[in-house]
Subunit: 444 residues, 2 copies
């Protein structure tokens, strides 16, 4: 039994490790284009924030551990070029230019996603950098070490942009954000708090901007937008990512939303011998029941495990994602799960929503911070559809409660009846989530 995996990041290495644990005698080969495997990509902003931390701290497991301790045939610097599903082979080229062919009984495509780098003039200037792969993190740290950087422009203000805003500010770099939309998946009541915090930390934010070109101006770079021209020493491109699905499409495999590789709950593609997992694959949304594409780490790990289990004859289904995400920017925790009101409407629900402000600790308990909860329910069914929160404490973990409720298709009324424990250092007697549910009930 030959199990071949294209891509050695979260999904790929999770699958490889799981397969060897399930069946130690299995022949497991991984083709990884770069020299880096198994690293915490999400940790890069925090690493970049500290010039004294080695970027290699983010490597969770060294390639040689996979090879020597786990018996995985891990080929780094080896780029898969094409899949021939008829004869079950993959053509690849190693870093010396040598062509190689690998055969498989089961194949996992775990090619991940790549940063969107628009085809605009000046995008290849020195100092214009994306942040996705570990090598990108290295490039940014090297650039900061070697170039006096007083200011940076972040093009795009998604999660990574917002995390990088904090990271660069911590290094004393003035940050300017340039973006088309700002936190479009969040209610404006939540985005507003984030925007105020950015402003308090002297991060300038230009919204509704389209970047037209980047120009070199002496020792600095100019980002020319439709109605702004901004200067800085460094430009980070954070316009999101796109799934690396070309190799799958070329092999006749069906694609789903956003051109991600379409997979079943067993992580199987349209070809029964080919699986896909990670940022290149789509997923079911547990609230809508529809396919969606959300490239996040937990799903990649979970999908990798599930693909390996299914390939090893242990049937496993990944139920799907609930649209959960959390990030930290400066002192704020920001989190969401499920659908925003506009997403709910697009999915055919009849949403009602509330936004409430509460305290993070009990009446008279010292150190309380404010916490804002936005909650969305369905007028037709009474179901809870989504929750978003922002605050300085008690957000990142609290969001897990509505996330579980979404998996259980719970109603807002039932959610409002849950026994969420209370102690004065942690919440008011009525948890902010319960207060939001109680308020939302009045609109359903």
């Amino acid at each position: 039994m030959k199990f071949l995996i294209i891509g050695g990041d979260a999904a790929g290495m999770s699958a490889a490790s799981r397969a060897k644990r399930n069946q130690p005698e299995m022949n497991v080969t991984v083709l990884e284009e770069t020299m880096d495997v198994s690293y915490s990509a999400c940790g890069m902003p925090y690493n970049i924030a500290d010039p004294d931390r080695d970027i290699n701290d983010l490597v969770v497991r060294q390639a040689q551990v996979f090879r020597e301790k786990q018996g995985i045939d891990l080929k780094t610097g080896c780029r898969a070029e094409a899949i021939d599903p008829d004869v079950k082979t993959v053509q690849a080229e190693d870093h010396t230019g040598q062509k190689q062919e690998f055969s498989y009984d089961s194949l996992l495509i775990a090619t991940g996603a790549s940063p969107v780098m628009p085809d605009m003039p000046g995008i290849d200037q020195k100092g214009v950098l994306p942040l996705k792969r570990l090598s990108d993190g290295r490039s940014i740290k090297d650039y900061l070490a070697g170039n006096r950087t007083e200011s940076a422009i972040l093009v795009g203000m998604g999660y990574i942009g917002l995390e990088m805003a904090e990271a660069l500010s911590l290094r004393g770099i003035h940050v300017t954000g340039v973006t088309r939309g700002f936190m479009r998946n969040y209610d404006s009541s939540i985005a507003q708090v984030v925007q105020q915090t950015l402003s308090q930390h002297h991060v300038d934010l230009y919204r509704d901007q389209k970047v037209e070109r980047i120009e070199k101006r002496g020792s600095s770079l100019a980002v020319v937008c439709n109605d702004q021209e901004l200067g800085a020493n460094m430009v980070l491109m954070g316009l999101g990512v796109a799934p690396n699905s070309r190799i799958a499409a070329d092999a006749g495999i069906a694609l789903g939303p956003k051109q991600a590789i379409s997979v079943s709950r067993q992580m199987q593609t349209s070809n029964p011998f080919i699986y896909s997992a990670g940022d290149c694959a789509d997923a079911y949304h547990v609230v809508t029941g529809q396919k969606t594409w959300v490239p996040l780490a937990l799903l990649a790990n979970r999908g990798g495990w599930a693909a390996a289990d299914n390939i090893c004859g242990k049937p496993v289904e990944v139920q799907g994602i609930a649209g959960s995400a959390v990030f930290k920017t400066f002192e704020l925790e920001v989190a969401r799960t499920g659908l925003s009101a506009s997403e709910a409407e697009a999915a055919g629900f009849e949403p009602a929503s509330v936004t409430i402000d509460a305290r993070s600790r009990a009446h008279a308990h010292p150190g309380a911070e404010s916490i804002r909860v936005h909650m969305v329910g369905d007028k037709k069914s009474g179901r809870l559809l989504g929750t978003q929160m922002v605050g300085k404490e008690g957000v990142a973990h609290r969001i897990k409660a509505p996330a579980v409720a979404l998996h259980a298709q719970m109603g807002v009324e039932d959610f409002g009846q849950t026994d969420l424990p209370y102690a004065p250092p942690f919440s008011p007697v009525w948890d902010p989530l319960l207060t939001a549910a109680n308020q939302l009930m009045k609109k359903l």
Copy 2:
């Protein structure tokens, strides 16, 4: 319509306020034995920790606000003595000794619970104090202000005992805990971490002790146990509380577990005109479906609201409690929801459990603490039955996720599939809850 309420704490005042909001013209009368209404009893340890904070900070709403702003006929210093359900009256005595009779159409018994004060020699010595009512908190603060207190003995180490251990230590008082069982509702793997922390903070803990008497010895008190004799300047009695149900039982109302007043999910007692809510009433456990008695603040507030809604003709059910609780002692957050393995066995389940240790933040993220999760599932049905956690961060809010899962009767496998969002400052990619569920699955 006359709505009469016995007891002006959480349940009673919640009900009174809610009834007036539902029906502003309703005649709502509250009989409260003490002079204090609507205060945060749970906040007392934190208030006591700080000699400079006024104990009255804990009052959430003054009596006159209820009277003048909300139109509630609130009679403080008025003790209800007996209920005559045949003629629908309550006999009371005010603080001057004057007898009064109140008639009702609907009655709510919200008499709360009282600290267990065993009938042992020396229990009435000066310096031997319970902690339940606001007046107890006042007495403790007054005692500490007026008496040089270098050491204190806590008899009983429940939640309040563990919170007071921290509070008194913060005031430089050496604390000794004397207890029969220690955290009996928790798995030993969780209790062990708490015990280590107490020890690190120089809190001496004597387990398996029965206190026989308290003696005055010069300026200090001696607590004489079965096989220990311990001295201190102050003795706090924290042997738990018992429901104040005598007045209900005397009126022929049925009692439930632990002699708490038996109520339906509508908060109705065995007499259709009499409701009960708060620490004096029992509740359904959502995991076992059986009656139980858990005197905690959220249920009191929720029960008070529900009783008022039902009395006002808005049918509402309180689904029940999940056995959720959280407390802080020193730097630890400790939380539980659902059943422990032994509780599960007693309820007829076939429990399996795991304990896992995880990190509170991602690989290589600075500042990570350890977090321990104990999870219980049912071998017969695969259901999640309970979760307990301890750690320095990420416990108090994380417990809400399994609490919601218990309300939804979710299986361990389904819980392990939930989309709990990840970011490096807050958890590993696989949240400790998911790791615990994955491990527990192997035993089911």
